[in-house]
């Protein structure tokens, strides 16, 4: 079975994000990068499937700035977890702030590849758009099932049963393959790369690709930071008087009860 996994690097979720002086970009100097957390679930699921089905291949696809070491580090980590191949599409010169353009750049590079399943994270924790999986699946004309928490591929590899959190409960769906699935937390517990995996990943080739730029459909005019929240007050006094005082403040001062 051929599985493609869309991955990208994002700033660590514990990072503070600061803007540059003219509010057009974030300061990246001190940032620590990680694999987008949702993409780790996608990689893990792909590797689990490759262990279950003989002769499987897991190819990581990353659209990122090829000149940055964080981009290749992301791919190396995915390879160390157990992926077989990696393709890096150079995003230099592309306006990746537009999900349509991002999906299109990936589409250009994967439409001719053989695949049964495409896995991705349900969103990237940097731009928080969550649009690329659905847009890409539309371009490839394959079904997209988003935010899945369970995936079971049939023994004949023609269909997959999956589960996702819907509005009225947990939805159980059956999709024909090929299809795209985006991963929600809860799908699996991503493994740590083994030492052997890390050593093997160092030797693997990363295929470098390019994409033709198309016109972006949306554009970021500027960035801003949310207004800081003013510090509140600690309700003093002994228990239970402090709780009584809090309850009365919620009614008389905050007027929320």
């Amino acid at each position: 079975m051929n599985i493609l996994v869309l991955v990208k690097q994002t700033p660590d979720t514990e990072s503070k994000i600061k803007l540059n002086s003219d509010n057009t970009a974030i300061e990246t100097g001190d940032l620590k990068y990680i694999i987008n957390p949702y993409d780790e679930y996608a990689i893990e699921e792909a590797i689990k499937l490759s262990e279950k089905f003989a002769d499987s291949k897991v190819t990581l696809i990353c659209l990122g700035n090829a000149a940055l070491k964080e981009t290749t580090e992301t791919l190396r980590k995915g390879l160390a977890m157990g992926a077989s191949d990696a393709i890096l599409i150079d995003a230099a010169g592309l306006n990746t702030a537009c999900p349509y353009l991002t999906a299109n750049a990936i589409y250009q590079n994967i439409s001719s590849l053989k695949y049964d399943i495409i896995l991705s994270g349900m969103k990237a924790v940097d731009d928080d758009y969550s649009c690329v999986p659905t847009l890409l699946a539309g371009m490839l004309n394959i079904p997209a099932v988003t935010a899945i928490v369970k995936l079971t591929v049939s023994p004949d590899q023609k269909t997959a049963e999956c589960e996702r959190e819907g509005e009225s409960g947990r939805e159980v769906l059956i999709s024909s393959l090929p299809a795209l699935f985006s991963a929600q937390k809860g799908l699996n517990e991503p493994r740590y790369p083994s030492l052997k995996g890390i050593m093997a990943a160092k030797k693997k080739e990363i295929a470098n690709k390019k994409a033709e730029a198309v016109s972006p459909k949306i554009k970021i005019v500027k960035l801003s930071t949310p207004p800081p929240r003013p510090a509140g007050k600690i309700v003093k006094g002994d228990f239970p008087n402090n709780v009584k005082e809090l309850a009365s403040l919620l009614r008389s001062e905050a007027k929320v009860i």
Binding site: T13, E14, K16, I17, L19, I26, A97, Y100, V125, D126, D127, D128, Y129, S130, C131, T134, P143, A144, V149, E165, G166, E167, S168, R170, E171, V172, L173, I174, S175, S176, A179, K185, G186, S215, P216, K217, I218, I220, V221, K222, S224, T225, P226, A231, G232, K233, V235, F239, P240, N242, V243, K244, L246, A247, S248, L250, R251, A254, V256, I257
Partner: protein
């Protein structure tokens, strides 16, 4: 893209029997950004729901509402719903189509964008029109640490989804809806993906992102069983229970209860954080709550820096007492 005197299509979200509050939020946000635009609506419903919903819609002050009624809408399918909205867009030719960013509507919006090639800005918290007349949507990035002001680039029309609960609804004088138009529709049967079952979660009454009151617990709660005290408080004040990543990772709560960067971003009226230290990946998920109350035994906990009210103390003492005090107030 400029919106002067153009048509804006509002996706009417409903529960089957009544129009949901977030539909009014969409109307309030659009009216504020584009007062001269013409507001129309699109309603998808099963035939039996139509009369009740249309009388509810009369209150919304929309110029015209396109109604697509079909039995197939009894089960949510993003492909089927998107193709119905697409049929309406082809008729109404709106400059902007606006959805609420809820689980199902945001999925419908993305599939619609994919099928129509229309540009999409997802998960906005505000709309604005700049001095040059350009429509701009504000979308939080990095879980809200940063806000991006985004416009459509060289587009004849676009789609925006607005996060629920962030816009305070302005009640306007209600005028009758001027007309309803039924749009014929043949459902798309999606053979590629089929829903075979929906396992209802009885404990999940309201989605966290739409809840008015959230009682959330973190590492300090200590165990799955201990969440009972939070559930009792939530029940007393008609709230829902949320959790920090630590509590979810420990297996005490389901992932759909998680608030934060890798969970849900919430905007309730009241957020009560119990035994939550306030790591940045959690606080970005709830810092836009109107009133934050923190209960933690560590006076140095970060959560107190963003809380409106804090109590330093043992949550197992404070939370039950707070439940009984608030119950007294509510029952007046």
């Amino acid at each position: 893209m400029k919106l002067d005197s153009k048509t804006i299509l509002i996706y009417v979200e409903h529960s089957g029997s009544k129009v949901k509050k977030n539909t009014s939020e969409l109307i309030t946000a659009v009216k504020k950004a584009a007062p001269s635009a013409e507001l129309t609506g699109v309603l998808l419903c099963v035939p039996a729901e139509r009369a009740k919903l249309c009388s509810d819609i009369e209150k919304l002050n929309l110029k015209k509402v396109y109604v697509v009624e079909n039995e197939s809408f009894s089960i949510f399918s993003k492909e089927n719903f998107a193709s119905a909205v697409k049929a309406v867009i082809e008729k109404a030719a709106p400059a902007l189509t606006v959805f609420s960013h809820t689980t199902n509507s945001s999925e419908t919006a993305k599939v619609l964008a994919s099928r129509t090639q229309l540009a999409i800005i997802c998960d906005a918290i505000n709309f604005a029109v700049y001095e040059d007349g350009e429509f701009v949507a504000v979308h939080p990035m990095y879980a809200g640490k940063i806000r991006a002001h985004i416009k459509f680039e060289n587009q004849p029309g676009g789609i925006v989804t607005l996060r629920p609960n962030v816009v305070e609804v302005c009640e306007t004088a209600s005028g009758a809806c001027s007309s309803f138009e039924t749009v014929p529709f043949t459902p798309v049967s999606n053979d590629a993906v089929k829903i075979i079952n929906v396992i209802a979660d009885a404990s999940k009454k309201i989605d966290l992102s739409e809840a008015d009151i959230i009682v959330a617990g973190g590492r300090g709660v200590g165990s799955k069983e201990n969440f009972k005290v939070l559930e009792d408080l939530a029940a007393a004040i008609n709230g829902v229970v949320g959790a920090s990543r630590a509590a979810v990772d420990a297996g005490w709560r389901e992932h759909h209860d998680q608030v934060g960067q890798t969970g849900k971003i919430v905007n309730p009226k009241i957020y009560i954080a119990c035994g939550i230290s306030g790591a940045i990946q959690h606080t970005v998920g709830m810092q836009t709550a109107k009133c934050i109350i923190a209960i933690n035994k560590d006076p140095e906990a970060n959560i107190f820096k963003i809380a409106d009210y804090g109590i330093v103390g043992d949550l197992f003492q404070v939370v039950p007492e707070l439940a009984s005090e608030l119950k007294k107030l509510i029952n007046g």
